[in-house]
C-alpha cells in the first residue's frame, strides 16, 4: 500500500453534476461524511463506481457503499431525505458482502416516484475513506453513467482502525434511539465525526453487534432503527470524555430533530434538581414518585373472517359502552362524567366505525382494524394544529385502548398506589385517573397536556396540585423516589432536602395566615406606602360576582364580560333582558363606582348559535371581537342600546375588544353616538378600547386622543406578541406575560395614554398576580382589574410597596432578556423590600 496507485471512480449514473458545496443538505455540503460529488440523475440505475465488496446496502435501498481490496470506501446516497420513503421506489440488485465489478448495476430506482415523494433526487458519491482525488472530467455539466470521473490517490492510508485497546473499555448507559429512521447516513455521519475527535477507540453496540464508531459505514451497517437500544464503549486516554460527549449526542438525535417524549431511556442525566413545567392546578405537595405507563398491546393483523371479526368488534364496543356508563354513574364530579360521556360518543362515531369496518372487510382482525382506525383519526386530530384537538386525540387513544383491551381480553391491572403518591406520566388518560384512589394521590406531574387537559381538569376538581409540560426526563424518575411538587411555581424538586420540605410547610402556614390577614383588611384602600392610590376593581361575568366583589373590597368593575348574556342559547337576548341585567349590575355598584362593560367578544373559537360564522382555520386571527361586531352592526347597536339603559346608575364605561384599526374605533363610536342620540342622552358614556393586539399597543399614541381610557388584556396581548398559544402543551410555559416584549408594550401604552391625560387599566390575568403588582404600578398603570377572589390579596400587595421603588424596578426589568429573568428580579425585589419584616428565614 506504500506505493501510490491510481484508482478510477466511474460515474454511477448519468446526469447533471452539481458542486458539493451547493447541495442543500449541510451534512453533504460540509463534507462531514467525506468529499466527493453530486449528480442530479437522468438515469434510473445506480452502478458500481469501482470494483469491491458491498459493505453496506441499507434495507431501504436508498444508500449503498462499496469497499475495495485496498480499503477504499465509497458511499452512494440516492436523493435527499429518501430514507423516509422506507424503500419504496428502490429495488436492490445486490446483497451485503457480495463482490461487484465496476459498472455493475446496484440499485434501480423509480425517479418519478422519488421526485414526487422525496425532497430531492440529488445523488451523492462520497469517498468516505478519505483518499484525496482529482477530477478526470469537467466538474460541471452532463456526465454519462460509466464515464471515469475521479482519480483516487491511494497513498498509504492513515490508519483509522483503532490501535489495540489499551486498558479496560468504559461503557455508557444504554440509550434508546429517538431518530425516526435510526442512525441513517446523516445522523451516522455526525456521530462518526464526533467519535473521530477522540483518540480513544470507540465502539457503538447494538445487542450483540458492534461497530467502529469512527466509521460511518460501520455505523450504517448496524442498521439501527427507531427505538433500538444502543450503547457506546470507549477505551483509551479520553474514553470518559468520549462516552460523555457521544452519549449526549445520541440523546439529542445527532443533529436530527427527535421528539423528546419518544426517548424515555435516552435521557441526559438529571443534572438539575428542579424540573420546570406549567402550573395546571395550583398547590404544593411532598410525596413519592409513581410512574404510570400505558401497557403496550400485541395486535395480530390478519383476521379469522369478516363475520367473526365484526361480531367481536361490536361485542367489545358494547362492553366498552357499558363500562363507560358505569364510570359515568360513579363519577365524583360533573367534569369526569362529561369526559366519559364524550368517550361513549366516540364509540358511536360513524367515520371511526366505517374505517374499522372497511379494514375488517379487507381481511384484517377486529383488533387491528379498530387500532388502525383510532390511531389514524388521532393522528389527524394532532395534525390540525389546535392544542384542544390534540388533547382530544388523547381521548381517542384512551377509548381506543379500552376497546382494544376488551377485544384482546387483556385485564386492566389495577394500579396499587402507595401512600402519598405523586403520579408521573407522559399523559394521564381519563381511564387511568378514574380508577385511582385519590386519597393516596397528592399530585400529578405530566409531560404532555396543558390547561385544558384532563389532568388539569381533574386535578382542579379534586383540589390537587398538578404540573403539565415537564421535560421528558421526569419519566426516568425511579418509582418511590421523593419529590416536592410546587405547582404554583411550576416546579418539581427532585430529592428535596429536609429544609425545602419544611420550608414548604412553613410557606403553607404563612400563606394561610396571610390570606386571613388580607381578608380582614380587604376594605382598606389600595394605597402604596408613599400615598399613591391605585384602583383595584373586579373582572366579573354575572350579577352574583358583583356582590361578591363589593364584599371583598372591590372598588368597581373593571371588566364586565358581556358574553355571558349571549352564550349557550339559540337566539340573541332580548333588549329587555340585556338592559335589566346591566341595570342590576350598575345598581349594585352605585353611582360613584366605575362599571366597564366590554362589548361582545366572541369569534370562531367560541361561535354563537345565532350568529352563524364560517369555520376559520385560525380563529384567534380571524373574525373576533369588534371585527365580528362591526360586520354585524345590528348586534352591536342592540348591545349599545341595552348598555346605555344603565347610564345613570353607575360610572358607565364601554370598552371595545380586539381593536386593531383606528377606523374600528371611529365606526363603533359613531354607532354609539347614534344610539345615544336616539335615546336622547345628554352625556355619552366613556368609551375605551382593550389593548390586546400588538398593533393597538404600538399605535397607542394615535388611539389615545380618541379614547377615554385603555384597558390592557395581557392574556391576548401576550399570545399575539409572542406568537404562542397559551394553552399549547409545549409552549404554555413560555407564553408568559412577564416577557420583556409584553412589558415594553405596556410601558409605551401607558406613556401614550398619560400624555393625553387618559387612564390605563390592566384586566388580564397578569393583574391578578401579586408578583406583577410592583411592576404594573411602576409602569404607571392606574387600575388593576382582578378576578374576584384575589381582590384582597392584590389590594394588600399594593399597600406593601412604595411607588418610587416600583418605578425603579419596572425600569430595570424592561431591559432584561426573558420572562424568567423578570420573575426572578421581581421575586428578589419582593424578598428584599416587602417581606423582610415578616420573614426571618431569608
Amino acid at each position: 500500500m506504500a506505493t501510490p496507485q491510481q484508482l478510477q471512480l466511474l460515474a454511477p449514473l448519468s446526469g447533471v453534476l452539481m458542486p458539493l458545496d451547493q447541495v442543500p443538505d449541510p451534512v453533504f455540503s460540509t463534507r462531514v461524511i467525506g468529499d466527493g460529488l453530486c449528480i442530479d440523475p437522468t438515469s434510473q440505475t445506480l452502478s458500481a463506481p469501482l470494483a469491491g465488496v458491498i459493505s453496506n446496502v441499507q434495507a431501504s435501498g436508498h444508500a449503498i457503499s462499496i469497499t475495495d481490496d485496498n480499503g477504499v470506501q465509497v458511499l452512494m446516497h440516492i436523493g435527499l431525505d429518501t430514507v423516509n420513503l422506507a424503500g419504496k421506489g428502490f429495488t436492490r440488485l445486490v446483497e451485503d458482502g457480495q463482490r461487484v465489478e465496476a459498472g455493475q448495476a446496484l440499485i434501480e430506482f423509480d425517479a418519478d416516484y422519488i421526485a414526487l415523494h422525496a425532497r430531492s433526487l440529488l445523488t451523492l458519491m462520497l469517498v468516505v475513506s478519505g483518499e484525496p482525488f482529482t477530477w478526470l472530467s469537467p466538474e460541471t455539466g452532463m456526465v454519462e453513467g460509466g464515464q471515469p470521473l475521479l482519480g483516487l490517490h491511494c497513498v498509504e492510508r492513515i490508519a483509522d482502525e483503532p490501535a489495540p485497546e489499551e486498558g479496560e473499555a468504559l461503557f455508557s448507559r444504554t440509550m434508546t434511539l429517538a431518530n425516526p429512521n435510526g442512525l441513517h447516513a446523516r445522523p451516522a455521519a455526525v456521530f462518526a465525526q464526533a467519535a473521530k475527535g477522540f483518540s480513544a477507540s470507540v465502539y457503538l453496540h447494538k445487542q450483540q453487534e458492534s461497530a467502529n464508531a469512527k466509521s460511518l459505514v460501520a455505523i450504517m451497517a448496524l442498521q439501527t432503527a427507531f427505538g433500538d437500544t444502543v450503547q457506546v464503549s470507549a477505551a483509551g486516554q479520553d474514553a470518559e470524555k468520549a462516552i460523555d460527549t457521544l452519549e449526549k449526542l445520541l440523546t439529542s438525535g445527532c443533529g436530527e430533530t427527535v421528539s423528546v417524549s419518544a426517548q424515555v431511556e435516552a435521557l441526559e442525566p438529571l443534572s438539575s434538581k428542579v424540573l420546570r413545567g406549567v402550573c395546571a392546578s395550583p398547590g404544593s405537595a411532598f410525596g413519592q414518585v409513581v410512574q404510570i405507563a400505558e401497557q403496550r398491546l400485541e395486535v395480530s393483523e390478519p383476521g379469522r373472517g369478516a363475520q367473526v371479526e365484526r361480531e367481536q368488534l361490536s361485542r367489545a364496543l358494547a362492553q366498552a359502552d357499558l363500562a363507560l356508563q358505569l364510570l359515568r354513574d360513579k363519577a365524583t364530579g360533573d367534569a369526569q362524567a362529561e369526559i366519559f360521556k364524550a368517550h361513549q360518543e366516540l364509540l358511536e362515531d360513524p367515520s371511526l366505525l366505517d374505517q374499522a369496518d372497511a379494514l375488517i372487510s379487507e381481511g384484517k382482525s377486529a383488533a387491528f382494524a379498530w387500532h388502525a382506525a383510532t390511531e389514524a383519526t388521532a393522528a389527524l386530530f394532532k395534525g390540525l394544529g389546535s392544542a384542544l384537538l390534540a388533547e382530544r386525540a388523547a381521548d381517542l387513544a384512551d377509548v381506543g385502548q379500552r376497546v382494544l383491551k376488551l377485544i384482546l381480553g387483556v385485564q386492566d391491572q389495577a394500579i396499587e398506589l402507595p401512600e402519598g403518591a405523586i403520579l408521573i406520566a407522559d399523559q394521564l388518560t381519563p381511564s387511568q385517573t378514574v380508577g385511582l384512589d385519590t386519597r393516596k394521590v397528592l399530585g400529578f406531574a405530566t409531560v404532555g397536556g396543558g390547561a385544558t387537559s384532563h389532568v388539569a381538569i381533574l386535578a382542579r376538581a379534586a383540589g390537587l396540585p398538578a404540573i403539565c409540560g415537564l421535560p421528558a426526563q421526569v419519566l426516568a424518575l425511579r418509582n418511590g423516589s421523593l419529590v416536592l411538587l410546587d405547582a404554583g411555581k411550576g416546579e418539581l424538586h427532585l430529592d428535596p432536602e429536609l429544609a425545602a420540605i419544611e420550608q414548604l410547610q412553613v410557606d403553607r402556614q404563612r400563606q394561610e395566615q396571610r390570606h386571613q390577614h388580607v381578608l380582614a383588611h380587604a376594605t382598606l384602600a389600595a394605597c402604596t406606602r408613599d400615598g399613591h392610590h391605585v384602583e383595584v376593581t373586579a373582572n366579573i361575568a354575572s350579577l352574583g360576582e358583583v356582590e361578591q366583589a363589593m364584599s371583598l373590597g372591590g372598588e368597581g368593575v373593571g371588566l364586565l364580560r358581556s358574553e355571558f348574556l349571549y352564550l349557550d342559547r339559540n337566539h340573541a337576548p332580548s333588549h329587555e333582558e340585556q338592559a335589566s341585567t346591566y341595570s342590576a349590575i350598575a345598581r349594585a355598584l352605585g353611582p360613584s363606582r366605575n362599571l366597564v362593560v366590554r362589548t361582545l367578544d366572541v369569534g370562531g373559537d367560541k361561535p354563537l348559535a345565532y350568529v352563524p360564522m364560517d369555520a376559520e382555520t385560525n380563529p384567534f386571527l380571524g373574525m373576533r371581537g369588534i371585527r365580528l361586531c362591526l360586520e354585524r352592526p345590528q348586534l352591536l347597536r342592540d348591545q349599545f342600546k341595552a348598555i346605555l339603559a344603565c347610564a345613570a346608575l353607575a360610572q358607565l364605561h364601554i370598552m371595545l375588544p380586539m381593536v386593531t384599526q383606528l377606523s374600528e374605533l371611529r365606526l363603533a363610536r359613531q354607532l354609539l353616538e347614534e344610539e345615544a342620540l336616539a335615546l336622547g342622552l345628554a352625556e355619552l358614556p366613556k368609551l375605551g378600547i382593550m389593548i390586546e393586539v400588538p398593533a393597538a399597543a404600538l399605535m397607542a399614541d394615535l388611539f389615545a386622543p380618541e379614547v377615554d381610557f385603555f384597558s390592557i388584556g395581557t392574556n391576548d396581548l401576550t399570545q399575539y406578541t409572542l406568537a404562542m398559544d397559551r394553552d399549547h402543551p409545549r409552549l404554555a410555559a413560555q407564553a408568559d406575560s412577564f416577557h420583556p416584549s409584553v412589558l415594553r408594550l405596556i410601558a409605551s401604552t401607558v406613556k401614550a395614554a398619560h400624555a393625553h391625560g387618559k387612564w390605563v387599566g390592566v384586566c388580564g390575568a397578569m393583574a391578578s398576580e401579586t408578583l406583577a403588582v410592583p411592576l404594573l404600578l411602576g409602569l404607571g398603570v392606574d387600575e388593576l382589574s382582578v378576578s374576584v377572589p384575589l381582590i384582597p390579596a392584590i389590594k394588600a400587595a399594593v399597600r406593601e410597596v412604595d411607588l418610587v421603588d416600583c418605578q425603579a424596578i419596572a425600569q430595570q426589568v424592561l431591559d432584561l432578556e426573558s420572562a424568567e429573568q423578570v420573575r426572578e428580579a421581581l421575586r428578589l425585589y419582593h424578598e428584599a423590600t416587602v417581606d423582610t419584616s415578616l420573614v426571618l428565614e431569608n
Binding site: P41, T42, S43, L80, A111, D112, A115, L116, S120, L122
Partner: protein, 96 residues
Amino acid sequence: MFEKMQRAFWKALTPDLVVDEPKVVVPPVAGLAANVVAALGGVDNLKSQKAVALTRVRVELRDVARVDRQALTAAGIPGVMTLDGGVVHLITGLKS
C-alpha cells in the same frame, strides 16, 4: 437602441426614479420560459407541469416525440430525463 441608452443614462443619474425591469421575461406558461415550452412541442403538447424535487420541473406531454432536445439544451436546460407515460423531468437546477 437610443431609447435604451437614454434609459440607462437616466437610471445612472436617478437610481430611485427608474424602476428596475424584471430581468426574466414573464413566461406564457407559469414557471417555464417560452423557448422551453416551444422546445417541448408548444403549449398544446403540455398536459401538466410542476416543480418537483428542488431541481426539477416535471412535465406531462401528449407526444414525447415532439420534444426537441437540442432546443432544450439551447434554452438552458442542462438535463432532460424522459420517463414512461409522457413524463419528462427537466433538470433546471436549484433556484437561487
